[in-house]
Symmetry: C2
Subunit: 215 residues, 2 copies
Amino acid sequence: MAKSDPTTPRERYRTQVRAEVMERAWEQIATAGASALSLNAIAKHMGMSGPALYRYFANRDELITELVREAYRDLADTLHAASETGADLAGLARTLRTWALADPQRYLLLYGTPVPGYQAPEDTTAISQEIAVTLIDACAAALPPATPASPLATHLADHRTWAAGHPAPPEALALFLSLWTRLHGVLSLELAGHFTGMQFDAAVLFESELATLLG
Amino acid sequence: MAKSDPTTPRERYRTQVRAEVMERAWEQIATAGASALSLNAIAKHMGMSGPALYRYFANRDELITELVREAYRDLADTLHAASETGADLAGLARTLRTWALADPQRYLLLYGTPVPGYQAPEDTTAISQEIAVTLIDACAAALPPATPASPLATHLADHRTWAAGHPAPPEALALFLSLWTRLHGVLSLELAGHFTGMQFDAAVLFESELATLLG
C-alpha cells in the first residue's frame, strides 16, 4: 500500500504552481536572459494575474534564488553521484562539461555574468561549497606525492577559510582553483559561442587543458 | 591655423547625441545588464521621445553593436600600444587584466554571457581578430624553441582557418587558446564576484596561471 502523502491538496497545488513558474522562468532565461526575467510576463503566460503569482514567489529575486538553488543542487548531486561511482578528477571534469553543455543557460546562470542587482543568499553558497568539496577531494587524490610548493599554494596556506576546514594540503587547493578557472574558461567561452566559426574542436581544447592540469 | 572641420553642424550634433546615448547605455548595462538595455528608457532619461531617439539608433541591436565595437576597439588599441612599447606575453596578459578590472561590464559585454537574441555583425569579428593577432604574435615569441607537439597543436595544424593566415606554428596557436581561456577563466569569475568572500588574492592566482603558461 502506498504511503499516504503527508501534504494537503493546497500544498500540493502550491508546489505544482511553483514548479510551473520555474519551468517558464527557465524558458524566459533561454530566450531573453536572466536579467530580463519578469514575474508579470510569466503570470501572463500562465493566465494568472501578477498579484496572484506573487503569492507563489514574493519577487524576482526569490525566483532567481530558487533557480540558482535548483541548478547548484543538480550539479552538486551529479558530481557527487559520479564521484561515488568511482570518477576521478578527469571524470568529474568531463561530468561538469556534459552537465554544462546539456543546458548552457543553467550553467551561465551560476557562473556567467551576474544578474545585476541580484545577490544570492547564504544557503546557495553552502551548496556551491559542496561542489567545491567534491572537487577538492578529487584534487587531493590526483596530486602527485611530491608536488613542489608554488607561490599560489604558499599564499593559500594562509588564505584557506573558503575551503571551510577541508584538510587538503594547500597544493590541492591550488590545483582546485586552477581546475575551476581553466575549465570555466573553456566552457564559458564555448557556451557563449566564442568558438563558433573558429572551426576547431572545443572538446580537444578541454581535454588538453585537463591533461596539463593532471601533469 | 586649425584645419576646418569637414562635418556639418547637423552631423556634429548627430555624433554628439549618439555619444550621449552610448554613455547612458553603459550606465544601464552597469545597473541592469546588457539584456535589459532599453532605447525607450534611454530616450526618457535624455528627455527625448522614443521615435526621436530611433533616428540615431535604428534598434537595440545597432546600439549593442556600437558598444561592442567601441569596447573591442579600445581593447585592441590598448594591447597594440602595450605591444608597441615592448610588452611581452606576460605584459599583455597584465594589460588585459588591468583593462578588464577598470570596467567589468565592458569586459563582460564582450566575453560574458551573450545577450540573448543579439548576433554581433562580421566587422566586430574583424576587431576581435586584431586582438587575437597581437596575442598570437606574443605567443609565437614566447614559445620555447623545442616545444613538443601536443594533441591540441596537432589538431590545430589542420584547424587554423580562425587564425586568418597567421604564420605562427600550431604550438603558438595552442598556447594562445590556453592563454585566452585561462586568463578569461580567472578574470570572468573574479569580475562576476565568485571570489568575493573567498579571501584569497585573485592577482596571485592570475600570476600563477600566467607563470604556468610561460613554462
